[in-house]
C-alpha cells in the first residue's frame, strides 16, 4: 500500500511539471499583459514595471526563472494585487474555500446518498419521481440563478440569513452559499446512488441474501450498499477537488473570500502567476483526491488491491 501511494505521488511530479509548463506558455498567447489597462501607461512607466517584474527578459529566461522559483516553493508575486504574493493570496483564501466547500461536500454527499437510497428503495413510486425531478432540477438550474433567488427569499424578504460576505462564518452567514454550492452536486450524488443501488439490488448475491431471509436492513445496509458505493466514491474525487478549491460563481454571488475567483479574475487580468498558482493548486487537489479515492476503492472492492 505504502509503495503504491509513494509511486503515485512520484508520478504526480512530471504531471505537475507538464501542467505548469503548458499553462505558462498558453497564458502568454492571450493578447495584452497584466499592465495593459483600460488607460494605457506611458512607455517609461511600462518600462519600469516590465523591468521590476522581469518581463523585459526573453520568454525562455522568464520560464526558467519561474520554474526555478516554483521548485523552491515560491509561486511568485501577483502582478495585480501588488502588495501580495501568490502564495499569500491563495493561502489566505484557501481556508475559506475549504470550509465552505467541505460543508457543501458533506451536505451534498449525505443528502444525495440518502435521497438516492430512498428513491431506489421506492423505485417508480411517487417519492422516487419527486426526488428524481428535484435532482434533475438541481443539475439543470445553474447556481447563479439559485443563489440570488435564495438571497431574495431568505435574506431580503425574510431577513433570516446573510445576503453576502463571510461575516463570522456562522450558520446564518454560510447557509445560503453552502446550499447553492451543494445543490448541483447533491443532485448528482442522488442520481448516482439511485442507479447504483437499483443495479446492486438486482444482483445475484442480494437475491440470495434475501432468499436466506436476511433482515432488509442488513441486505440493503451491508451487502447492497457496499457495491453501490463504488461509483459514488469515484465521483467523490473530482467533486471534492472542485468544491474545496472554490467556485468563482458562488464566491462572486455571495462575496466569499475564497480562492475560486482567482482563476477567472487572474485569466482576465493576465495575472499570470496567480493563474498558474491556481492551476497548481487545483492539480494538486485532483491528484491527492484521486489517490485517496483509489485507496478507498481498494478497501471497498476486493477485486482492486494495491499491494
Amino acid at each position: 500500500m505504502l509503495t503504491f501511494v509513494l509511486r503515485r505521488l512520484g508520478s504526480a511530479i512530471p504531471t505537475l511539471f507538464i501542467i505548469v509548463t503548458l499553462s505558462f506558455f498558453l497564458m502568454r498567447l492571450a493578447p495584452g499583459g497584466p499592465f495593459n489597462l483600460e488607460r494605457p501607461l506611458p512607455p517609461q512607466i511600462m518600462e519600469n514595471l516590465n523591468r521590476t517584474y522581469g518581463f523585459d527578459q526573453p520568454m525562455w529566461r522568464q520560464y526558467l526563472i519561474y520554474m526555478g522559483n516554483v521548485v523552491q516553493g515560491d509561486l511568485g508575486p501577483s502582478y495585480i494585487y501588488r502588495d501580495r504574493s501568490v502564495a499569500n493570496l491563495l493561502g489566505e483564501g484557501l481556508g475559506y474555500s475549504i470550509k465552505l466547500g467541505g460543508l457543501a461536500l458533506l451536505v451534498a454527499l449525505v443528502g444525495g446518498v440518502l435521497a438516492g437510497l430512498l428513491a431506489a428503495l421506492r423505485q417508480n413510486r411517487p417519492l422516487d419521481f419527486l426526488i428524481m425531478s428535484g435532482a434533475t432540477a438541481g443539475v439543470t438550474i445553474p447556481n447563479f440563478v439559485i443563489g440570488p433567488v435564495l438571497v431574495l427569499i431568505f435574506s431580503i424578504t425574510l431577513s433570516w440569513t446573510r445576503a453576502g460576505g463571510w461575516g463570522t462564518g456562522s450558520f446564518r452567514d454560510l447557509v445560503l452559499p453552502v446550499i447553492a454550492l451543494a445543490l448541483p452536486q447533491l443532485a448528482v450524488f442522488a442520481r448516482l446512488t439511485r442507479g447504483a443501488m437499483i443495479e446492486a439490488m438486482s444482483a445475484d448475491h442480494i437475491r440470495t441474501a434475501r432468499a436466506y431471509g436476511l433482515p432488509a436492513r442488513s441486505v440493503v445496509g451491508t451487502h447492497a450498499m457496499r457495491g453501490a458505493m463504488l461509483p459514488i466514491v469515484s465521483y467523490l474525487a473530482p467533486c471534492a477537488a472542485g468544491l474545496l478549491t472554490g467556485s468563482a460563481v458562488v464566491e462572486t454571488i455571495f462575496a466569499i473570500p475564497g480562492v475560486g475567483r482567482y482563476f477567472v479574475h487572474g485569466a482576465l487580468a493576465r495575472d499570470y502567476t496567480v493563474v498558474m498558482g491556481t492551476v497548481v493548486l487545483v492539480a494538486v487537489f485532483v491528484i491527492v483526491f484521486n489517490l485517496i479515492v483509489d485507496v478507498i476503492y481498494g478497501l471497498l472492492d476486493p477485486r482492486v488491491r494495491h499491494d
Partner: protein, 530 residues
C-alpha cells in the same frame, strides 16, 4: 393565550438583556460601505482608481484633500504660497499633524514619499501624474537620483515643491493618490508587509484595523488625527463587492449602508423603494467612439462628422442607460469654471442632424446613391457597450444604409490592440478623469500622445493651443484657450463623444453627511450614521 403572551414577554426580556449586554458594541458608529472591488494595493504609489482611493484617502491625508462637497481643501498642509511665476509651491504643514503611531507629520515625510513614487524601482503606475515636479520624469526614468527631485524640506513644517513649468492644476494633482504620504520608518521596518493591518502607519482620519481580501477591510478612527474630534464614525468597514447585483441585494438586506455603481437597470426600482437616497450624479468621465483617422474613409472629417451627427445620443442615454448617463457633444464634461465647447450640431434637433449628415456624407462621396461603406465597430465585451454598439450600428444603417458589423474582445485585449496602434475603423473608448481639469481630457488627442490617441488624430492648431495652455497662469484665460482647442476638436470630430456616465450611489437611511459632487469624492471623515 396568556401563556403565549408570557412566553413573548420572556423572549422580549431575554432579547432586551442580550441587547443591553451587547450595548458597548452597539454604541459604536460603524459605516458599512460598499466598495467597487478589492483594492489591488494599499500602497499609494501602486494604486490607480477609486477602488483603492476611496479606502486609501480615508487612511492617508495628502497636502490637499477633499471636503464632503468634493472640493480641494487644505489637508496635511494648513496653507501654501505659490510663487509669482507659478513654479514654486511652499506648503506649511499643520503643527498638530500626527501619524497614527504618534510621530509628527513632517516635511521630510512628504519628501520621502514623493521621491519614492518617482523611484523607478518602485515602478509606480501613476508616477506620471506628478511628472510636473522638477526632474520627476528624469528620476522616474532612472536618469537622475531621487535626491534630485524638485522637492525639499525647508524645515520640519515647511515643504517646497519646484515645478518644471507652471502647472495651473497642480493643487488638483496633489489630491491624487500618488500625492499621499507614507511613513518611512514603517516601510523600512516592516518590509514587504508594511501596509498590513497592525503595521500600516497612517496620517488620515482612520487607520487600518483588519483586512480579509475579497471580504472586508475595517478602518478604525485614528485618535492621533489632527481633526479627530470632528470625525463622527468609530469605524468604516469597506466591502469589496465586484458583482453589482450582489451589492444591490446586500444593500436591500440592510447589510450595506452605501453601494456604488449598481446596474442602471436597478435605478428605477431602487428609486421607487428608497427615494432620494438613490443618487445619480454627473461625473468626470466621457464615453466616446474613436475613428481611425489614418485611413480612408475616416481620414475625411466630413465622414467622421456625418457619422457622429447620425448618433442619437438622447436615445442612448434614455433607452439604454435609463437616465444614468447624460448625452454629450463635447469631450470634456462640465466642471468648476469650465464650460465645454460643444460640436456645432449640438444645437440642432436629431431630425435636422440626420438630414445634414446625409448631405455631408454624400459630399464626401458615400451613402445613398454613392459608394456604400462597410463599417466595423470594435468594443470591449460588456453588456452596456454591446447595447450602445448595436444601437449605433442600427442608426448608421438606417441613416446612410451602411453595412455595420460589430466585434468585441475582453477589455485587456481591446485596449492592448488600440494602444499598440492596431488598425481599426471605429472603436469604443472611455476616459475617467484623474483630476478635475479639462486638460486631463483634451491632451488625449494631441499629436503623438503615446497610447491614448488611438485614432492618431493630428492637428497642429490643436496641439499649439494645448501647448499654450500650460504657459497661461491666469485661470480664466487658460480655460478660454482650452475651450478654443476643444472647439477645433469638436469641429474635426476625430472622436465622437457620446455620454457622460453618472455615478450611482445608494445610501441607507442611517447615512448622514454624504454630498453629491462631480469629483465623486466621498470621504468617510465627514459622514456619520444614526
Amino acid at each position: 393565550m396568556t401563556g403565549f403572551r408570557r412566553g413573548g414577554l420572556r423572549a422580549a426580556l431575554i432579547l432586551g438583556a442580550l441587547m443591553a449586554g451587547a450595548s458597548p458594541a452597539l454604541a459604536e458608529a460603524v459605516l458599512h460601505r460598499g466598495n467597487p472591488g478589492e483594492p489591488n494595493s494599499l500602497d499609494p504609489a501602486q494604486i490607480s482608481i477609486n477602488v483603492e482611493s476611496f479606502i486609501l484617502k480615508d487612511l492617508l491625508e495628502g497636502l490637499t484633500t477633499f471636503n464632503a462637497a468634493g472640493e480641494a481643501i487644505p489637508g496635511a498642509a494648513e496653507s501654501w504660497e505659490i510663487s509669482e511665476d507659478g513654479t514654486v509651491y511652499t506648503f506649511k504643514l499643520r503643527e498638530a499633524g500626527k501619524w497614527s503611531n504618534g510621530d509628527p507629520v513632517t516635511a521630510e515625510d512628504f519628501v520621502y514619499s514623493l521621491r519614492r513614487v518617482q523611484d523607478p524601482a518602485v515602478a509606480s503606475k501613476y508616477a506620471n501624474i506628478l511628472h510636473p515636479i522638477r526632474n520627476a520624469k528624469a528620476v522616474n526614468a532612472g536618469e537622475m537620483k531621487p535626491e534630485e527631485l524638485g522637492v525639499r524640506a525647508v524645515d520640519d513644517r515647511t515643504l517646497e515643491i519646484v515645478l518644471e513649468r507652471p502647472t495651473p492644476y497642480f493643487l488638483e494633482l496633489l489630491t491624487h493618490s500618488t500625492g499621499l504620504p507614507v511613513h518611512r520608518g514603517n516601510i523600512e521596518k516592516d518590509g514587504a508587509e508594511w501596509n498590513r493591518p497592525g503595521k500600516l502607519v497612517t496620517n488620515g482620519p482612520f487607520m487600518l484595523e483588519a483586512h480579509i481580501p475579497n471580504d472586508s477591510l475595517t478602518a478604525a478612527k485614528n485618535p492621533h488625527y489632527w481633526d479627530a474630534e470632528a470625525v463622527k464614525l468609530d469605524k468604516v468597514v469597506f466591502y469589496p463587492v465586484e458583482d453589482q447585483a450582489a451589492a444591490v441585494r446586500r444593500f436591500e438586506a440592510g447589510e450595506l449602508d452605501m453601494i456604488y455603481n449598481f446596474s442602471a437597470s436597478d435605478l428605477e426600482r431602487l428609486r421607487a423603494a428608497h427615494g432620494d437616497r438613490i443618487r445619480a450624479t454627473p461625473a468626470l468621465n466621457t464615453e466616446y467612439y474613436v475613428f481611425d483617422n489614418r485611413a480612408e474613409p475616416f481620414s475625411d472629417a466630413r465622414v467622421r462628422r456625418a457619422l457622429s451627427m447620425a448618433i442619437d445620443r438622447d436615445f442612448l442615454a434614455q433607452e439604454i442607460f435609463l437616465g444614468a448617463s447624460l448625452p454629450t457633444y463635447a469631450l470634456s464634461p462640465p466642471m468648476a469654471g469650465y464650460t465645454p465647447a460643444q460640436a456645432d450640431f449640438a444645437a440642432l434637433s436629431q431630425f435636422d442632424r440626420e438630414d445634414q449628415a446625409v448631405e455631408l456624407m454624400k459630399e464626401a462621396g458615400y451613402g445613398s446613391g454613392a459608394k456604400p461603406l462597410d463599417i466595423t465597430i470594435r468594443y470591449n465585451t460588456n453588456p452596456n457597450h454591446e447595447r450602445v454598439a448595436t444601437a449605433i450600428a442600427d442608426m448608421w444603417k438606417t441613416v446612410f444604409g451602411f453595412n455595420v458589423t460589430m466585434s468585441n474582445q475582453d477589455v485587456t485585449s481591446h485596449y492592448a490592440y488600440l494602444q499598440e496602434g492596431g488598425a481599426f475603423q471605429v472603436a469604443r473608448a472611455g476616459w475617467v478623469a484623474d483630476y478635475g481639469d479639462p486638460e486631463n481630457f483634451l491632451t488625449l488627442n494631441i499629436t503623438g500622445n503615446p497610447g491614448f490617441n488611438y485614432g492618431k488624430y493630428s492637428n497642429p492648431d490643436y496641439d499649439a493651443l494645448i501647448a499654450a495652455s500650460y504657459d497661461e497662469t491666469d485661470h480664466e484665460k487658460r480655460f478660454q484657450i482650452l475651450h478654443d482647442a476643444e472647439a477645433i476638436l469638436m469641429k474635426d470630430q476625430p472622436i465622437a463623444p457620446l455620454l457622460h456616465k453618472a455615478e450611482l450611489w445608494g445610501l441607507s437611511a442611517r447615512v448622514k453627511g454624504f454630498e453629491d459632487n462631480v469629483n465623486n469624492e466621498h470621504p468617510s471623515r465627514f459622514m456619520s450614521v444614526e
